[in-house]
Symmetry: C2
Subunit: 767 residues, 2 copies
């Protein structure tokens, strides 16, 4: 597929035509740009509840040799011409396609600037040949001005002052204020086109646009279009070894004037270079927080660069299609070390989507009101991770309003509602109280067995109809509540509210007892009970006799003694392992069951119905590490890696993690990995590798080093920035576990805190 | 573009690559199939409030010569190969693409059967060459099984019993019961494909599907697809002059078993032929009701065949994207003569969407609740047209429930809401009472000038914010109410409710006075007043100083004496005519005005903002005829005809009428005609030609002959079926107007009624 270039923090795609399109994301706090290996895809900006499209589809460069008449797209190569070079460079915050053909080298780079609602592009064309080249170079994207469905509001034409094409779409009572798009060019084009039908031909396509056969694009404006293009033609004469370059930006404004101002400020080489440097600096900062050199080069690339990248997307954009409460909370948890201040802001912001009764909504922007019941369990772990990294307990006193309403109003929308603005209560309470209310909600939301109710579902979104009558109970959610209460106990200690510990400890004990009495079978925990007292995840069932998460979370929650937990994880190995990971449940449902929900209707092996759901595998790896099962943890990690030789045709991007691999029970798509980037797996895997395998654990008192390494590793090195200091950690296999801090032995595993700017050498001996 | 073949009732497209795709529709009472000249497009079935997709996009045949390796699509010819023949035949209820290339003739026909939720296709391949042909023939469409957005519910695989590909999509709590699609083949294919990515290649397209380069399609099922295909490969050896044919059907069922049964019954040559015959017979029936032979061959084709076709679409499917109350009412009005029984059913059904307060909703299926205020004016004309055709006053006593709710609840949705089932009141009232309530609603829904309120708008949908404060008044709507009251008066007479005539006559007089006092300027009627007492359609305004419809409807309503109406229509000629029709208003708005609404934000010359809105031009032609302005009427008719030499690049299908031609004020798309078929123009033009130009007017007492012919015509012939008899009418220019019935003079213009089966010869002398 390609190779990692860690020095440049790039992944370089050399096979431009793999099984499926490879996905890259570029983004800032308001704008997201998706692109495939060729640089095509959608982009939009989002403001609170609003999402405003910028562009979609192809973003192409074309080169026409005026002497020979040959015409091709250097970034897309539709005709599969024999390019000398054809690569996509996935950078941190930019995307570059490089090609060489017929004596011309083209470098095409996209980026989303650190701030602003626009995409920036640059194209450089070099004459590699010995003779003069007379080429027409075209740049073309597909702005999406239409925000109303009324084509009659739209037009597009070249605007001299703007230095590009202006796409207004002003209309009656529109939802968006951003009624103007533009594509501006640093250099004035020789010609332009605005209509897709004229550009491609009414029967043509971007693969071979008919307008390129003419000497010049039409230079005509247009109106009432389904699809516009922003196409510009440049007439170049390149001496041997000469180079041409240009910059474009495509973005939005509330008025033509705002577009003109944006264009003047940003459509230039200087502005592009500055943005690129800023984007790179921002990412370098993340890179430096944790660096490891292990014997596993791929894992090094992933942990040092790519998992950070992916979880950083999640901390801002959730799953992109929407910001899930639990999703953003988990991604922030992993993100904290990179930018504690930003993470703090993010946690505080996300907590505004919790009702005063303690339960948060499932997803914000767009809001989803289906009554999932697990939101609360993700709060204490995020806050505790923040406290571990920073020891900043002031966060617990921050006053945050609640979402207006109650979770009881979450009464049954199964699809996301329209975008709506956030509405908060006037009354604000402390973060501590938010957490406490979440714990109280979960404790009080229980059924006759003393287990926490499903209501609309839990982590397993697709068990969405097991508890709608408010009778069905989730064993997993009860286990997760125990884990959350463990974390809450630590928070109580840090917040010096020991007065509450006994009360919550007894509540936790009550939950544990309920789990142990009702939630266990011979070799595993059930998933739960539906509204009709039927077991889910039991050997009594025909399908889905066992689920992965209740077992792994029993370990995360410390529900049993170590030998019992080992036995439980042995069950996981025996009953849920496949060649490329661990199935979410087994065997897959093969018959829709309305007493369970969506999952039972999914085709076997797909999504929660028996896929290798990577998020669940990441929980499993943490569980392995907690039990000291380093080899199994590492093997599991490698099983879901893109380069698992037992699953060669999975389609995955090497630089991202996917939501799942389709399970072995699916007869058609077993092993295939769709939905890359859109998963909480990255954050958890990052913590697996850094905190659990390498064992570099932030705590309020300082870093602890508690590795759980595979037996194949004898030596590794980690650099970790922590509270201003730098820990350079050498790991060596030794005869007995011990830790040296600047050459001196340390009691236990806790490293002393450093002063800002200090560097310490740490040596870790492991057996 | 092509030619009319009236004998076969076909239009034959010979230029397969005109400015824009040419649109054809095929349909029955539950299923609609849109296709372009190549046969590609979408299809869906609709059941009450539900709309269920069948397929979308390309529907292609491919031929691969196994000896030479050449491969192409005979119906689509992406590569623009030099075909010997390449034609699309637009038939009444079928669509055929014929091509000849490389010694092979392929005839590809689609149809929607008279009943059932499926599309049927046949392909015939002939070997035109002298030698044996070894070809692989492929058929491919794109079924759309996904009704949930959950790809995990979906799969596709070949099903032996079905004899084709089965696409189930069963899921949790789906809105549709039709969870199964299928593509069945009469002959078992050599190979098949289910995945679009495999068929086209992940980076390929239907223009050059990569799988055709292999010897065989993959014969694999698939799952979790964004886009499926139904592709089948047939390995043929054709002797010289030999022919191969096959039939496929693509449709839906509530279960696999239903799909199997449908396939067994319908996926055969015999079933296809039967369906084709039935569809043709149904259409022939419409053709025979009215036939004319005038000196204008194009107009003959239009009136005898194509306008009937288009208004027949409207009577069942409204504007396809939704069934507008006013739209269906108007199309039924024109449709009545073809099938009075069906028209009667349709009127009764549509009246269920009227609230008990008298006002109907704007659109049903999907319901649109934006509070348009004009619905009621379209009811009496439709019922009266039915009474004129049939004299069946029993329709007035039919009991019909109302829509639950009140029009006051129509409180501001500007977009169609989701599909919802019809909910009717328990109380039913007679059709007569429905009409009366509509009249009473309009009369009582008036403002301080005594004019009818706009509320959300009237015929001019886009004046949607002139009256939301319930103050703005519409002059046009008041005129239209006068016209409706004229019609109601006739209904009162027929229903022997003369007791009510005086009351409604005095109400009508009141409305007229309000119009004359408040609604006139020097040379034209205003459009109305907005909520802020500002005039609309006045010379005081900067934009839209005059609108077309208030002038033409003043004639339709008989608002003034003849000389004044002539003067008014002279104003229309002076101020609104352009080279290709009459603008809806002039000059176009160039500045959004929230006190008016959407229309003011439309780009100049687009839609209601200054386009030649054909529906309005049709009203205008009727007005011309009512005033005896035959030459102007005819010239207007020809101005909006596809073949107007002053607007050569309009893009129109010759066999359909479009919603509009973009107005001359638009700098980019003036003269262009998008949105063919989707207009009420066809019905009105049909009535223009038959009732007003040829003057064959049904009345309760019998046919009247009152022509208004262009001076260029000296002679024409019309055949009209009416209440079981056949009138063969010869028109000749004479010295004095007179009518002979079977050779004998007739008093006035009324022809005697015939007995069923009788034929009469009528001679009409006109001056």
């Amino acid at each position: 597929m390609g190779y990692f270039n860690d020095q440049k923090r790039e992944y370089v795609i050399t096979n431009m035509y793999p099984r499926r399109e490879l996905v890259n994301y570029l983004w800032n706090e308001t704008t997201v740009c998706k692109c495939n290996q060729f640089g095509g895809g959608f982009s939009w900006s989002s403001f609170g509840a609003e999402r405003r499209a910028i562009e979609t589809g192809e973003r192409n460069v074309y080169v026409k040799d005026r002497d020979s008449g040959t015409c091709y797209s250097p970034n897309r190569n539709y005709a599969r011409l024999p390019f000398e070079k054809f690569e996509a460079h996935i950078g941190l915050g930019y995307h570059t396609v490089i090609s060489e053909y017929d004596g011309v080298r083209v470098e095409y780079t996209l980026l989303v600037p650190p701030k602003g609602n626009f995409i920036a592009y640059t194209v450089r064309a070099y004459n590699l040949s010995g003779g003069e080249k007379h080429i027409d170079l075209y740049f073309c994207n597909q702005p999406q001005p239409d925000i109303s469905g009324h084509e009659a509001y739209g037009m597009a034409d070249y605007d001299e002052e703007l230095g590009g094409i202006h796409f207004p779409h002003e209309g009656f009572a529109l939802d968006s204020e951003y009624t103007h798009l533009f594509l501006a060019s640093a250099q004035k084009p020789f010609a332009f086109e605005t209509s897709k039908d004229r550009f491609c031909g009414a029967y043509g396509s971007f693969a071979d646009p008919e307008s390129l056969r003419e000497d010049s694009l039409s230079c005509k404006g247009t109106s009432f279009e389904m699809s516009y293009v922003g196409a510009m033609q440049y007439r170049l004469t390149l001496a041997p070894q000469a180079e041409w370059e240009n910059v474009w930006i495509c973005g939005m404004g509330k008025s033509r004037e705002e577009c003109v101002a944006l264009a003047k400020e940003n459509a230039s080489r200087a502005a592009f270079e500055k943005a690129l440097q800023e984007v790179e600096a921002q990412n370098a900062q993340y890179s430096d927080v944790f660096r490891m050199e292990t014997p596993d080069a791929v894992l090094n690339s992933q942990a040092n660069i790519w998992l950070k990248r992916q979880l950083s997307l999640g901390k801002t954009w959730g799953r992109v299609y929407g910001k899930g409460f639990r999703d953003v909370m988990q991604d922030i948890t992993a993100f904290i070390s990179f930018n504690p201040k930003l993470a703090r802001e993010r946690i505080l912001n996300v907590l505004r989507y919790q009702y005063e009764d303690g339960n948060p909504i499932r997803m914000m922007q767009p809001d989803m009101f289906y009554p999932y019941n697990d939101g609360g369990v993700w709060i204490p772990s995020a806050v505790l991770a923040y406290l571990n990294e920073t020891a900043d307990i002031s966060v617990l006193s921050e006053q945050i309003p609640y979402l207006i309403g109650t979770s009881a109003e979450n009464s049954g929308y199964s699809k996301p509602s329209v975008f709506r603005p956030y509405e908060g209560t006037e009354k604000a309470e402390s973060v501590f109280q938010h957490i406490q209310r979440a714990m109280d909600y979960l404790y009080s939301s229980r059924g006759k067995r003393g287990l926490v109710l499903f209501i609309g579902g839990d982590w397993n979104d697709s068990l969405n109809n097991a508890g709608r009558l408010k009778k069905g109970e989730s064993v997993w959610l009860t286990i997760a509540t125990v884990k959350a209460l463990n974390e809450f106990e630590e928070i109580l200690r840090l917040y010096q509210r020991e007065d509450l510990i006994a009360d919550y400890a007894s509540k936790k004990e009550e939950l544990k007892q309920s789990i142990l009495v009702h939630g266990m079978e011979e070799d595993h925990f059930l998933y739960g009970f539906n509204d009709y007292d039927e077991k889910i995840g039991s050997d009594e069932n025909e399908y889905a006799k066992i689920f992965l998460n209740p077992q792994t979370w029993a370990v995360l929650a410390g529900l049993l003694d170590a030998p019992s937990l080992h036995k439980l994880m042995d069950t996981v190995e025996k009953r849920l392992r496949c060649d490329y990971g661990y199935m979410q449940c087994y065997p897959s449902f093969r018959k829709g069951d309305d007493k369970i929900g969506r999952v039972s209707y999914f085709q076997p092996g797909l999504v929660e119905n028996g896929a290798v759901y990577n998020h669940g595998v990441a929980f499993k790896i943490v569980a392995d590490c907690l039990l000291g099962r380093g080899d199994i943890a590492y093997a599991s990690l490698k099983a879901i890696s893109f380069d698992n030789p037992k699953n060669p045709d999975n389609g995955m991007e090497p630089y991202a993690v996917s939501n799942m691999y389709m399970g072995p029970e699916n007869p058609y798509v077993a092993g295939y990995a769709p939905m890359s980037w859109i998963t909480g797996t990255a954050g958890w895997l990052y913590r697996c590798v850094t905190e659990y395998i390498c064992g570099v654990k932030p705590t309020p008192e300082g870093l602890k080093i508690e590795p759980c390494l595979p037996s194949a590793w004898d030596r590794l090195r980690v650099t970790r920035k922590f509270r201003g200091g730098v820990y350079e950690i050498e790991y060596c296999r030794g005869e007995k576990a011990s830790v040296l801090f600047n050459g001196k032995g340390v009691e236990g595993t806790l490293l002393p805190l450093l002063k800002a700017g200090e560097t310490a050498k740490v040596t870790v001996y492991f057996v």
